[in-house]
Protein backbone atom coordinates (compact mmCIF):
# COMPACT_ATOMS: atom_id res chain seq x y z
CA UNK A 1 0.00 0.00 0.00
CA UNK A 2 2.94 2.27 0.69
CA UNK A 3 4.08 1.94 -2.90
CA UNK A 4 0.67 3.10 -4.11
CA UNK A 5 0.73 6.07 -1.69
CA UNK A 6 4.09 7.12 -3.13
CA UNK A 7 2.84 6.91 -6.71
CA UNK A 8 2.86 10.61 -7.58
CA UNK A 9 2.13 12.52 -10.77
CA UNK A 10 5.65 12.08 -12.18
CA UNK A 11 5.47 8.32 -11.65
CA UNK A 12 2.12 8.20 -13.43
CA UNK A 13 3.56 10.01 -16.46
CA UNK A 14 6.57 7.68 -16.43
CA UNK A 15 4.25 4.68 -16.22
CA UNK A 16 2.29 5.87 -19.24
CA UNK A 17 5.46 6.52 -21.27
CA UNK A 18 6.93 3.20 -20.12
CA UNK A 19 3.69 1.48 -21.10
CA UNK A 20 4.19 2.65 -24.68
CA UNK A 21 7.69 1.10 -24.70
CA UNK A 22 6.29 -2.12 -23.28
CA UNK A 23 3.48 -2.18 -25.84
CA UNK A 24 6.03 -1.60 -28.60
CA UNK A 25 7.79 -4.84 -27.58
CA UNK A 26 4.68 -6.84 -26.78
CA UNK A 27 2.26 -5.89 -29.59
CA UNK A 28 4.15 -7.31 -32.64
CA UNK A 29 4.84 -10.57 -30.78
CA UNK A 30 1.24 -10.86 -29.59
CA UNK A 31 0.06 -10.09 -33.13
CA UNK A 32 2.28 -12.84 -34.51
CA UNK A 33 0.90 -15.37 -32.01
CA UNK A 34 -2.74 -14.34 -32.60
CA UNK A 35 -2.56 -14.39 -36.39
CA UNK A 36 -0.93 -17.78 -36.76
CA UNK A 37 -3.00 -20.33 -38.63
CA UNK A 38 -3.69 -23.44 -36.47
CA UNK A 39 -3.22 -26.11 -39.18
CA UNK A 40 0.02 -24.41 -40.30
CA UNK A 41 1.19 -24.29 -36.71
CA UNK A 42 0.49 -28.00 -36.30
CA UNK A 43 2.34 -28.79 -39.53
CA UNK A 44 5.34 -26.77 -38.40
CA UNK A 45 5.29 -28.34 -34.93
CA UNK A 46 5.43 -31.82 -36.44
CA UNK A 47 7.95 -30.87 -39.13
CA UNK A 48 11.26 -32.61 -38.42
CA UNK A 49 13.18 -29.88 -40.25
CA UNK A 50 11.85 -27.30 -37.79
CA UNK A 51 12.55 -29.52 -34.77
CA UNK A 52 16.07 -30.31 -35.92
CA UNK A 53 16.86 -26.67 -36.61
CA UNK A 54 15.71 -25.65 -33.12
CA UNK A 55 17.83 -28.38 -31.52
CA UNK A 56 20.81 -27.40 -33.69
CA UNK A 57 20.39 -23.72 -32.76
CA UNK A 58 20.18 -24.45 -29.02
CA UNK A 59 23.15 -26.85 -29.02
CA UNK A 60 25.46 -24.60 -31.04
CA UNK A 61 24.56 -21.50 -29.03
CA UNK A 62 25.13 -23.44 -25.78
CA UNK A 63 28.50 -24.72 -27.02
CA UNK A 64 29.54 -21.27 -28.28
CA UNK A 65 28.61 -19.70 -24.92
CA UNK A 66 30.34 -22.38 -22.83
CA UNK A 67 33.60 -22.28 -24.78
CA UNK A 68 33.61 -18.47 -24.98
CA UNK A 69 33.14 -18.28 -21.20
CA UNK A 70 36.59 -19.81 -20.69
CA UNK A 71 38.13 -16.76 -22.34
CA UNK A 72 35.53 -14.06 -21.66
CA UNK A 73 35.33 -14.45 -17.87
CA UNK A 74 39.09 -14.02 -17.24
CA UNK A 75 39.09 -10.98 -19.55
CA UNK A 76 36.09 -9.54 -17.68
CA UNK A 77 37.93 -9.99 -14.37
CA UNK A 78 41.07 -8.25 -15.64
CA UNK A 79 38.99 -5.37 -17.03
CA UNK A 80 37.19 -5.03 -13.69
CA UNK A 81 40.27 -5.17 -11.48
CA UNK A 82 43.31 -3.86 -13.30
CA UNK A 83 44.41 -0.52 -14.65
CA UNK A 84 46.68 -0.70 -17.68
CA UNK A 85 47.58 1.34 -20.77
CA UNK A 86 45.00 1.28 -23.60
CA UNK A 87 42.34 -0.27 -21.36
CA UNK A 88 39.76 2.02 -23.00
CA UNK A 89 40.81 0.74 -26.43
CA UNK A 90 40.37 -2.87 -25.27
CA UNK A 91 36.92 -2.06 -23.86
CA UNK A 92 36.00 -0.46 -27.20
CA UNK A 93 37.19 -3.58 -29.05
CA UNK A 94 34.99 -5.71 -26.76
CA UNK A 95 31.98 -3.59 -27.76
CA UNK A 96 32.76 -3.67 -31.50
CA UNK A 97 30.49 -6.65 -32.31
CA UNK A 98 27.54 -4.71 -30.85
CA UNK A 99 28.06 -1.68 -33.05
CA UNK A 100 29.03 -3.18 -36.42
CA UNK A 101 26.35 -4.53 -38.79
CA UNK A 102 26.04 -8.28 -38.33
CA UNK A 103 26.32 -8.86 -42.05
CA UNK A 104 29.74 -7.19 -41.80
CA UNK A 105 30.55 -9.49 -38.88
CA UNK A 106 29.63 -12.44 -41.11
CA UNK A 107 31.95 -11.18 -43.84
CA UNK A 108 34.78 -10.78 -41.29
CA UNK A 109 34.29 -14.32 -39.99
CA UNK A 110 34.07 -15.67 -43.52
CA UNK A 111 37.48 -14.13 -44.16
CA UNK A 112 38.79 -15.94 -41.10
CA UNK A 113 37.56 -19.41 -42.07
CA UNK A 114 37.48 -19.41 -45.89
CA UNK A 115 39.83 -21.79 -47.69
CA UNK A 116 42.18 -18.86 -48.48
CA UNK A 117 42.72 -18.10 -44.79
CA UNK A 118 45.34 -19.76 -42.55
CA UNK A 119 42.65 -21.43 -40.42
CA UNK A 120 40.62 -22.49 -43.47
CA UNK A 121 43.61 -23.94 -45.32
CA UNK A 122 44.71 -25.79 -42.17
CA UNK A 123 41.22 -27.32 -41.91
CA UNK A 124 41.32 -28.12 -45.64
CA UNK A 125 44.53 -30.09 -45.16
CA UNK A 126 42.49 -32.36 -42.83
CA UNK A 127 39.70 -32.57 -45.41
CA UNK A 128 37.43 -30.17 -43.53
CA UNK A 129 35.53 -27.21 -44.92
CA UNK A 130 34.79 -24.73 -42.16
CA UNK A 131 32.42 -22.59 -44.24
CA UNK A 132 28.89 -23.94 -43.91
CA UNK A 133 29.77 -26.00 -40.83
CA UNK A 134 28.40 -25.92 -37.24
CA UNK A 135 31.82 -24.50 -36.30
CA UNK A 136 31.19 -21.47 -38.54
CA UNK A 137 27.76 -20.99 -36.96
CA UNK A 138 29.31 -21.18 -33.47
CA UNK A 139 31.96 -18.62 -34.44
CA UNK A 140 29.31 -16.24 -35.79
CA UNK A 141 27.14 -16.68 -32.70
CA UNK A 142 30.10 -16.17 -30.34
CA UNK A 143 31.36 -13.12 -32.24
CA UNK A 144 28.12 -11.19 -32.06
CA UNK A 145 27.19 -12.19 -28.51
CA UNK A 146 30.44 -12.30 -26.50
CA UNK A 147 30.31 -8.58 -25.52
CA UNK A 148 27.16 -9.29 -23.49
CA UNK A 149 28.99 -11.84 -21.36
CA UNK A 150 32.19 -9.81 -20.98
CA UNK A 151 30.36 -6.60 -20.01
CA UNK A 152 27.96 -8.24 -17.59
CA UNK A 153 30.69 -10.29 -15.90
CA UNK A 154 32.99 -7.23 -15.72
CA UNK A 155 30.28 -5.23 -13.92
CA UNK A 156 29.74 -8.16 -11.55
CA UNK A 157 33.44 -8.47 -10.67
CA UNK A 158 33.74 -4.70 -10.26
CA UNK A 159 30.97 -4.84 -7.64
CA UNK A 160 32.87 -7.38 -5.49
CA UNK A 161 34.76 -5.42 -2.79
CA UNK A 162 38.52 -5.89 -3.35
CA UNK A 163 38.78 -6.09 0.46
CA UNK A 164 37.23 -9.56 0.35
CA UNK A 165 39.88 -10.77 -2.05
CA UNK A 166 42.59 -9.24 0.14
CA UNK A 167 41.07 -10.95 3.18
CA UNK A 168 41.20 -14.31 1.37
CA UNK A 169 44.86 -13.71 0.55
CA UNK A 170 45.74 -12.95 4.17
CA UNK A 171 44.00 -16.23 5.05
CA UNK A 172 46.43 -18.11 2.81
CA UNK A 173 44.41 -18.43 -0.39
CA UNK A 174 46.18 -18.26 -3.75
CA UNK A 175 44.96 -15.83 -6.41
CA UNK A 176 43.23 -18.59 -8.36
CA UNK A 177 41.55 -20.01 -5.25
CA UNK A 178 40.43 -16.51 -4.28
CA UNK A 179 38.96 -16.10 -7.74
CA UNK A 180 37.12 -19.43 -7.68
CA UNK A 181 35.91 -19.31 -4.07
CA UNK A 182 35.32 -15.58 -3.54
CA UNK A 183 35.19 -13.41 -6.68
CA UNK A 184 33.33 -15.78 -9.00
CA UNK A 185 30.55 -16.78 -6.57
CA UNK A 186 30.03 -13.16 -5.51
CA UNK A 187 29.86 -12.02 -9.13
CA UNK A 188 27.83 -15.14 -9.95
CA UNK A 189 24.55 -13.39 -10.59
CA UNK A 190 26.07 -11.04 -13.16
CA UNK A 191 28.16 -13.79 -14.74
CA UNK A 192 25.09 -16.04 -15.13
CA UNK A 193 23.09 -13.10 -16.49
CA UNK A 194 25.87 -12.54 -19.02
CA UNK A 195 25.89 -16.23 -19.96
CA UNK A 196 22.11 -16.17 -20.47
CA UNK A 197 22.29 -12.99 -22.52
CA UNK A 198 25.08 -14.42 -24.65
CA UNK A 199 23.21 -17.69 -25.14
CA UNK A 200 20.02 -15.82 -26.09
CA UNK A 201 21.78 -13.39 -28.40
CA UNK A 202 23.68 -16.20 -30.11
CA UNK A 203 20.51 -18.22 -30.60
CA UNK A 204 18.69 -15.36 -32.26
CA UNK A 205 21.53 -14.38 -34.60
CA UNK A 206 20.72 -14.29 -38.29
CA UNK A 207 22.84 -11.72 -40.18
CA UNK A 208 26.29 -13.16 -39.52
CA UNK A 209 25.20 -16.80 -39.69
CA UNK A 210 23.45 -16.51 -43.03
CA UNK A 211 26.76 -15.41 -44.58
CA UNK A 212 29.00 -18.09 -43.06
CA UNK A 213 26.56 -21.02 -43.07
CA UNK A 214 23.20 -21.04 -44.82
CA UNK A 215 23.22 -24.77 -44.20
CA UNK A 216 22.89 -26.48 -41.74
CA UNK A 217 19.96 -24.18 -41.03
CA UNK A 218 19.58 -22.57 -37.63
CA UNK A 219 16.00 -21.56 -36.87
CA UNK A 220 16.43 -17.83 -37.64
CA UNK A 221 17.82 -18.82 -41.06
CA UNK A 222 14.99 -21.35 -41.53
CA UNK A 223 12.40 -18.66 -40.74
CA UNK A 224 13.99 -16.42 -43.38
CA UNK A 225 14.16 -19.32 -45.85
CA UNK A 226 10.48 -20.21 -45.35
CA UNK A 227 9.49 -16.56 -45.72
CA UNK A 228 11.55 -16.17 -48.89
CA UNK A 229 10.40 -19.41 -50.47
CA UNK A 230 6.79 -19.82 -49.28
CA UNK A 231 5.70 -16.51 -47.73
CA UNK A 232 4.53 -15.23 -44.38
CA UNK A 233 1.95 -17.96 -43.72
CA UNK A 234 4.72 -20.60 -43.63
CA UNK A 235 7.37 -18.52 -41.86
CA UNK A 236 5.08 -17.34 -39.04
CA UNK A 237 4.37 -20.76 -37.43
CA UNK A 238 8.11 -21.52 -37.28
CA UNK A 239 8.71 -18.13 -35.68
CA UNK A 240 5.91 -18.75 -33.15
CA UNK A 241 7.34 -22.16 -32.20
CA UNK A 242 10.88 -20.79 -31.88
CA UNK A 243 9.78 -17.80 -29.78
CA UNK A 244 7.71 -20.11 -27.55
CA UNK A 245 10.61 -22.52 -27.01
CA UNK A 246 13.03 -19.70 -26.22
CA UNK A 247 10.53 -17.98 -23.90
CA UNK A 248 9.94 -21.19 -21.91
CA UNK A 249 13.67 -21.84 -21.74
CA UNK A 250 14.54 -18.34 -20.57
CA UNK A 251 11.75 -18.06 -18.05
CA UNK A 252 12.91 -21.40 -16.57
CA UNK A 253 16.55 -20.27 -16.53
CA UNK A 254 15.68 -16.90 -14.97
CA UNK A 255 13.62 -18.61 -12.24
CA UNK A 256 16.53 -20.95 -11.53
CA UNK A 257 18.97 -18.02 -11.49
CA UNK A 258 16.82 -16.07 -9.03
CA UNK A 259 16.50 -19.06 -6.71
CA UNK A 260 20.21 -19.87 -6.85
CA UNK A 261 21.53 -16.31 -6.56
Amino acid sequence: MRARDNFNFTHTIFLLLGGVALLFIFAPLAGMFLSVNAPNLFDAATDKVVGNSIILTLIISFAATSISALFAIPLAYILARKKFPFKGVIEAIVDLPIVIPHSAAGIAILGLISRDSALGSLASSFGLNLVGSPFAIALAMAFVSIPFLINSARDGFAAVPPRLEQAAETLGASKIRTFIKISLPLAGRSVVSGLLLMFARGMSEFGAIVIVAYHPMTTPVLIFDRFNSFGLAYARPVAVIFVTVTLILFIALRIYQKKRW
Partner: protein, 212 residues
Protein backbone atom coordinates in the same frame (compact mmCIF):
# COMPACT_ATOMS: atom_id res chain seq x y z
CA UNK B 1 58.70 -10.94 16.80
CA UNK B 2 57.94 -8.32 14.15
CA UNK B 3 60.80 -6.15 12.97
CA UNK B 4 60.40 -3.36 10.46
CA UNK B 5 63.58 -1.69 9.22
CA UNK B 6 63.62 1.55 7.24
CA UNK B 7 60.21 0.87 5.69
CA UNK B 8 59.41 3.45 3.04
CA UNK B 9 56.24 3.50 0.96
CA UNK B 10 54.90 6.13 -1.40
CA UNK B 11 51.38 6.39 -2.79
CA UNK B 12 50.50 9.42 -4.91
CA UNK B 13 51.47 12.41 -2.75
CA UNK B 14 51.62 10.49 0.55
CA UNK B 15 54.83 9.07 2.00
CA UNK B 16 54.91 6.49 4.78
CA UNK B 17 58.13 6.20 6.73
CA UNK B 18 60.93 5.61 6.99
CA UNK B 19 59.77 3.39 9.85
CA UNK B 20 61.98 1.23 12.03
CA UNK B 21 60.41 -0.64 14.91
CA UNK B 22 60.80 -3.92 16.76
CA UNK B 23 57.84 -5.60 18.44
CA UNK B 24 58.43 -8.50 20.81
CA UNK B 25 56.38 -11.69 20.68
CA UNK B 26 53.28 -11.73 22.88
CA UNK B 27 52.88 -7.96 23.15
CA UNK B 28 49.72 -5.96 22.44
CA UNK B 29 50.84 -2.95 20.46
CA UNK B 30 48.60 0.01 19.78
CA UNK B 31 49.11 2.47 16.94
CA UNK B 32 46.83 5.47 17.04
CA UNK B 33 46.55 8.51 14.87
CA UNK B 34 44.10 10.50 12.74
CA UNK B 35 42.50 9.24 9.54
CA UNK B 36 44.91 9.35 6.61
CA UNK B 37 48.01 9.20 8.82
CA UNK B 38 49.08 5.86 7.30
CA UNK B 39 48.02 3.42 10.05
CA UNK B 40 46.12 1.04 7.77
CA UNK B 41 48.88 1.32 5.17
CA UNK B 42 51.40 0.15 7.77
CA UNK B 43 49.26 -2.91 8.54
CA UNK B 44 48.88 -3.66 4.84
CA UNK B 45 52.65 -3.57 4.44
CA UNK B 46 53.09 -6.04 7.31
CA UNK B 47 50.31 -8.24 5.85
CA UNK B 48 51.89 -8.20 2.39
CA UNK B 49 49.02 -6.39 0.69
CA UNK B 50 51.42 -3.56 -0.17
CA UNK B 51 55.09 -3.93 -1.00
CA UNK B 52 57.35 -1.16 0.39
CA UNK B 53 59.67 0.79 -1.86
CA UNK B 54 62.51 0.00 0.50
CA UNK B 55 63.14 -1.51 3.91
CA UNK B 56 62.44 -4.94 5.37
CA UNK B 57 59.54 -6.74 7.02
CA UNK B 58 60.91 -9.44 9.30
CA UNK B 59 58.61 -11.78 11.19
CA UNK B 60 60.03 -14.47 13.48
CA UNK B 61 63.52 -13.87 12.03
CA UNK B 62 62.39 -14.47 8.43
CA UNK B 63 62.45 -11.73 5.80
CA UNK B 64 58.95 -11.55 4.31
CA UNK B 65 59.39 -8.24 2.46
CA UNK B 66 58.96 -9.74 -1.02
CA UNK B 67 56.82 -12.70 0.01
CA UNK B 68 53.14 -12.68 -0.92
CA UNK B 69 50.40 -12.09 1.64
CA UNK B 70 49.18 -15.67 1.54
CA UNK B 71 52.53 -17.04 2.70
CA UNK B 72 52.97 -14.70 5.66
CA UNK B 73 52.30 -15.83 9.25
CA UNK B 74 49.89 -12.93 9.65
CA UNK B 75 46.19 -12.68 10.43
CA UNK B 76 44.29 -9.51 9.70
CA UNK B 77 41.02 -8.13 11.00
CA UNK B 78 39.77 -5.55 8.51
CA UNK B 79 37.89 -2.44 9.56
CA UNK B 80 34.66 -3.71 7.96
CA UNK B 81 35.61 -7.30 8.97
CA UNK B 82 35.56 -8.43 5.29
CA UNK B 83 33.54 -11.55 6.05
CA UNK B 84 32.55 -13.56 3.00
CA UNK B 85 28.83 -12.83 2.59
CA UNK B 86 28.07 -15.95 0.53
CA UNK B 87 29.36 -18.26 3.26
CA UNK B 88 28.00 -19.22 6.67
CA UNK B 89 29.85 -18.40 9.89
CA UNK B 90 31.33 -21.92 9.93
CA UNK B 91 32.46 -21.68 6.30
CA UNK B 92 34.11 -18.33 7.00
CA UNK B 93 36.10 -19.75 9.90
CA UNK B 94 36.83 -22.95 7.96
CA UNK B 95 38.13 -21.04 4.92
CA UNK B 96 41.79 -20.68 6.05
CA UNK B 97 41.71 -24.22 7.44
CA UNK B 98 40.59 -25.65 4.10
CA UNK B 99 43.25 -23.58 2.35
CA UNK B 100 45.90 -25.08 4.62
CA UNK B 101 44.79 -28.57 3.57
CA UNK B 102 43.20 -29.82 6.80
CA UNK B 103 40.70 -32.66 6.49
CA UNK B 104 37.00 -32.16 7.25
CA UNK B 105 37.20 -33.69 10.72
CA UNK B 106 40.14 -31.51 11.79
CA UNK B 107 38.41 -28.43 10.33
CA UNK B 108 35.27 -29.19 12.33
CA UNK B 109 37.23 -29.59 15.56
CA UNK B 110 39.40 -26.47 15.06
CA UNK B 111 36.50 -24.25 13.93
CA UNK B 112 34.41 -25.53 16.84
CA UNK B 113 37.18 -24.71 19.34
CA UNK B 114 37.59 -21.19 17.93
CA UNK B 115 33.83 -20.65 17.97
CA UNK B 116 33.79 -21.65 21.63
CA UNK B 117 36.70 -19.34 22.45
CA UNK B 118 34.85 -16.38 20.93
CA UNK B 119 31.34 -17.35 22.14
CA UNK B 120 29.89 -17.91 18.66
CA UNK B 121 29.20 -21.66 18.85
CA UNK B 122 25.48 -21.01 18.40
CA UNK B 123 26.06 -19.00 15.24
CA UNK B 124 28.00 -21.49 13.13
CA UNK B 125 25.18 -22.28 10.70
CA UNK B 126 24.02 -18.65 10.44
CA UNK B 127 24.57 -16.49 7.38
CA UNK B 128 26.73 -13.37 7.75
CA UNK B 129 23.93 -10.97 6.84
CA UNK B 130 21.98 -11.88 9.99
CA UNK B 131 24.80 -11.10 12.46
CA UNK B 132 25.14 -8.05 14.69
CA UNK B 133 28.27 -5.90 14.58
CA UNK B 134 29.72 -7.54 17.69
CA UNK B 135 29.04 -11.03 16.36
CA UNK B 136 30.68 -10.15 13.07
CA UNK B 137 33.77 -8.94 14.90
CA UNK B 138 34.06 -12.21 16.82
CA UNK B 139 33.58 -14.29 13.68
CA UNK B 140 36.25 -12.24 11.89
CA UNK B 141 38.62 -12.69 14.84
CA UNK B 142 38.03 -16.44 14.93
CA UNK B 143 38.67 -16.61 11.18
CA UNK B 144 41.82 -14.47 11.37
CA UNK B 145 43.25 -16.72 14.10
CA UNK B 146 42.25 -20.03 12.51
CA UNK B 147 45.58 -20.54 10.74
CA UNK B 148 47.47 -19.66 13.95
CA UNK B 149 49.28 -16.53 12.76
CA UNK B 150 52.38 -15.28 14.58
CA UNK B 151 50.98 -11.78 14.53
CA UNK B 152 47.41 -10.48 14.40
CA UNK B 153 46.73 -7.12 12.77
CA UNK B 154 43.60 -5.25 13.86
CA UNK B 155 42.50 -2.37 11.66
CA UNK B 156 40.08 -0.16 13.65
CA UNK B 157 38.39 -3.27 15.11
CA UNK B 158 35.87 -1.31 17.18
CA UNK B 159 35.00 1.56 14.88
CA UNK B 160 32.14 -0.26 13.15
CA UNK B 161 30.40 -0.90 16.47
CA UNK B 162 28.04 1.29 18.41
CA UNK B 163 28.84 2.39 21.98
CA UNK B 164 27.01 -0.50 23.69
CA UNK B 165 28.83 -3.17 21.71
CA UNK B 166 32.28 -1.64 22.05
CA UNK B 167 32.76 -2.66 25.67
CA UNK B 168 31.79 -6.24 24.90
CA UNK B 169 34.03 -6.30 21.81
CA UNK B 170 36.88 -4.79 23.78
CA UNK B 171 36.62 -7.70 26.22
CA UNK B 172 36.93 -10.06 23.26
CA UNK B 173 40.19 -8.36 22.33
CA UNK B 174 41.29 -8.84 25.94
CA UNK B 175 41.11 -12.60 25.31
CA UNK B 176 43.84 -12.21 22.70
CA UNK B 177 46.09 -10.37 25.12
CA UNK B 178 45.51 -12.99 27.80
CA UNK B 179 46.36 -15.77 25.33
CA UNK B 180 49.74 -14.16 24.56
CA UNK B 181 48.89 -13.45 20.93
CA UNK B 182 51.09 -10.79 19.33
CA UNK B 183 48.69 -8.04 18.29
CA UNK B 184 49.10 -4.77 16.41
CA UNK B 185 45.94 -2.70 16.89
CA UNK B 186 45.50 0.51 14.94
CA UNK B 187 42.85 3.03 15.87
CA UNK B 188 42.04 6.71 15.72
CA UNK B 189 40.72 6.55 19.30
CA UNK B 190 43.45 6.24 21.93
CA UNK B 191 40.95 5.57 24.73
CA UNK B 192 39.91 2.25 23.22
CA UNK B 193 43.40 0.79 23.68
CA UNK B 194 44.54 2.27 27.01
CA UNK B 195 43.61 -0.85 29.00
CA UNK B 196 44.79 -3.30 26.37
CA UNK B 197 48.08 -2.01 25.02
CA UNK B 198 51.47 -2.99 26.38
CA UNK B 199 53.05 -0.30 24.25
CA UNK B 200 51.57 2.67 22.36
CA UNK B 201 52.77 4.33 19.17
CA UNK B 202 51.50 7.42 17.47
CA UNK B 203 51.25 7.67 13.70
CA UNK B 204 51.26 11.13 12.20
CA UNK B 205 51.67 12.02 8.51
CA UNK B 206 53.31 8.68 7.80
CA UNK B 207 55.77 8.83 10.73
CA UNK B 208 55.65 6.45 13.68
CA UNK B 209 56.68 7.56 17.17
CA UNK B 210 56.74 5.66 20.48
CA UNK B 211 54.49 7.23 23.14
CA UNK B 212 54.78 4.84 26.07
Amino acid sequence: MVKLTDILFRADDFTLGPITVELETGGYYAVFGPSGSGKSMLLEIIAGLRIPESGKVIIDNTDYTRISARKRPVGMLFQDYALFPHMTVFENIAFPLRVSGLNDQAIKITAGALAEQFFISGLLSRSISGLSGGERQRVALARALAHEPSVLLLDEPLSALDEELREEASKTLGILKKDGQTVIHVTHNRNEVTDLATRCYKMSAGKLALID
